[in-house]
């Protein structure tokens, strides 16, 4: 289980600036359980954005947004609406946003921050990684996480160490994360995002919140038991 919380609406609106037609993507997995990206929250978001004057061209709630094959399969049937949209607002954890970005050639915006669980991670076998930093930056980086894709976790662009798109550390196997981000933003015609100077990260947001500390496994097991019994 990966815990997420919705970003404040003003931050979401800022990321959607200049875009009118939005397609919403929700997740029936962890995000539904966290009440951040299930169908109910997607509909709620639809209402809020419409109030702000946005046009919601469609929405889809996928079983597990971290499963790229499933995301592709589910979004394929919504292709026309997605092509019609300026961007996608993805209401789930950092993995789900990255997985969606991998399979859709559209600008994606994260609607949530992923909260650190202090070690207990979701079972995700894809190549995307989420640091659960509590301050999702995927909006600025084309849906590719600079904290996990870049060896040095740089947030303001590449260092001088990449050659032929590969990282100086393990050049045989490791792509330069910033090369991937650059190529992606270029493809989306959004290189302006790369010009934003990001302030140093607030690492205090990476500490697990008090209610999740030490009792987390117990708490989750309790919740699961209760749900099963009902």
């Amino acid at each position: 289980m990966i815990i997420s919380q919705q970003k404040p609406l003003p931050e979401i609106l800022k990321s959607l600036e200049g875009e009118q037609r939005i397609f919403l993507v929700g997740c029936k997995g962890c995000a539904e359980a966290c009440h951040t990206g299930g169908e109910a929250q997607v509909l709620e978001m639809k209402g809020k954005l419409e109030e702000e004057g946005k046009t919601i061209v469609g929405y889809s709630v996928v079983d597990f947004l971290c499963d790229k094959a499933l995301v592709k399969f589910r979004l394929k049937v919504r292709e026309e609406e997605i092509i019609d949209a300026d961007s996608l607002l993805v209401m789930t954890c950092g993995l789900g946003v990255q997985a969606t970005s991998k399979v859709v050639d559209k600008v994606t915006h994260p609607a949530c921050d992923t909260i650190n669980l202090g070690g207990a991670r979701g079972e995700w076998r894809g190549e995307e990684r989420c640091l659960e930093c509590g301050e999702c930056l995927l909006d600025y980086t084309g849906g590719i996480c600079p904290l996990t894709a870049c060896t040095k976790s740089l947030i303001n662009g590449p260092c001088g160490g990449a050659k032929n798109g590969k990282c100086e550390f393990e050049p045989e196997t490791r792509d330069c994360g910033w090369h991937l981000i650059y190529e992606r933003l270029k493809k989306l015609n959004h290189l302006d995002k790369m010009k934003t100077i990001l302030s140093p990260k607030d690492y205090s947001k990476m500490r697990p919140p008090p209610q999740l500390r030490s009792t987390i496994m117990w708490a989750l097991e309790q919740v699961e038991k209760e749900t099963t019994v009902k």
Binding site: K152, N156, G160, K163, F169, Y182, I197
Partner: protein, 288 residues
């Protein structure tokens, strides 16, 4: 005088670098620096270059300063978090060190302590920003300082990067964050460098072209295969290969490159990498 002032006054700025020793025997480093006295405007002191643990740059800078030489403190983000970096910036100022070159730093796994935890709490852009904030009398958390430091802030760029655009975007961010001069990665292709200088002319910031002395054809091939953004063209490799006296040829090539690129930029930064003793000869051959 700080090096940006020199560039503003129209002086073609010459910088070189020394590397602090692994240990406390500083004689060789000081001897190398001594050879550059009167020949260069400032001497960069590297910061745990290649992620190899050595004597600190700050202490070495002060040693140069005590001897009347102008140091450029290199600071990387690899080994210190924002508390330590800001503190060291204050320390540098109080020790009389004005020129600071802000870099990301190599990854730890490439050095001699691959087990170390890499930090990168800040990056080169936010380190520049932090220094600017200190100059405004506050730290990164917005707390007020008692007494404010002044710096001359530099940064690096790789003119030969492919693709170049990400480097240009980051260079612009560095200027916005506070960079007042740039020292570049090694350049061996004046044509490409000219293109680069055209592309960054709008930033209106002094650029000191990087020159790494070629020691052999093998070194050139190694750099081509392994060093990002550095390309030694075949004709230079052939020249090195056929040279009877490699040291002489190395100086000749460096001088030729500097002469060709001098009209394009505001200074030169010579990285001798072990051949520091040859720096004065390069400058003689260049007429600088």
């Amino acid at each position: 005088m700080n090096i940006t002032e020199l560039a503003k006054n129209g002086k073609f700025v010459v910088t070189a670098e020394v590397g602090p020793p692994k240990g406390v025997d500083i004689k060789e480093m000081l001897d190398d620096a001594e050879l550059m006295r009167g020949r260069v405007d400032a001497i960069n002191v590297t910061d745990q270059q290649s992620s190899v643990m050595r004597l600190g740059s700050l202490a070495a800078c002060r040693l140069l300063k005590d001897r009347g030489l102008e140091p450029v403190l290199q600071m990387t983000c690899r080994d210190r978090n924002r508390i330590a970096l800001q503190s060291d910036l204050l320390s540098a100022y109080i020790l009389g060190i004005e020129n600071v070159l802000c870099l990301t730093g190599d990854f730890v796994a490439l050095g001699d302590h691959p087990q170390a935890k890499s930090v990168f709490d800040l990056d080169s852009v936010s380190l520049l920003y932090a220094a600017r904030e200190l100059e405004q009398g506050r730290d990164l958390a917005g707390n007020e300082l008692t007494g404010t430091p002044r710096f001359c802030l530099g940064a690096v760029v790789t003119p030969g990067a492919d693709p170049l655009e990400p480097q240009l975007i980051k260079m612009e961010k560095k200027v916005k964050a506070g960079a007042q001069f740039f020292q570049t990665q090694a350049v061996y292709e004046p044509g490409k460098f000219e293109e680069f200088m055209k592309a960054v002319a709008y930033l209106n910031v002094p650029v000191f072209v990087g020159i790494v002395l070629l020691k052999s054809a093998g070194m050139a091939r190694f750099m081509n295969a392994n060093v990002a953004g550095v390309h030694v063209p075949d004709n230079l490799i052939k020249e090195m290969e056929q040279a009877e006296n490699r040291g002489q040829k190395s100086i000749e090539i460096a001088a030729r490159l500097i002469k060709e690129m001098k009209p394009l930029c505001q200074g030169v930064h010579i990285m001798a990498i072990g051949w520091e003793k040859r720096v004065p000869e390069v400058l003689d051959a260049t007429g600088l």
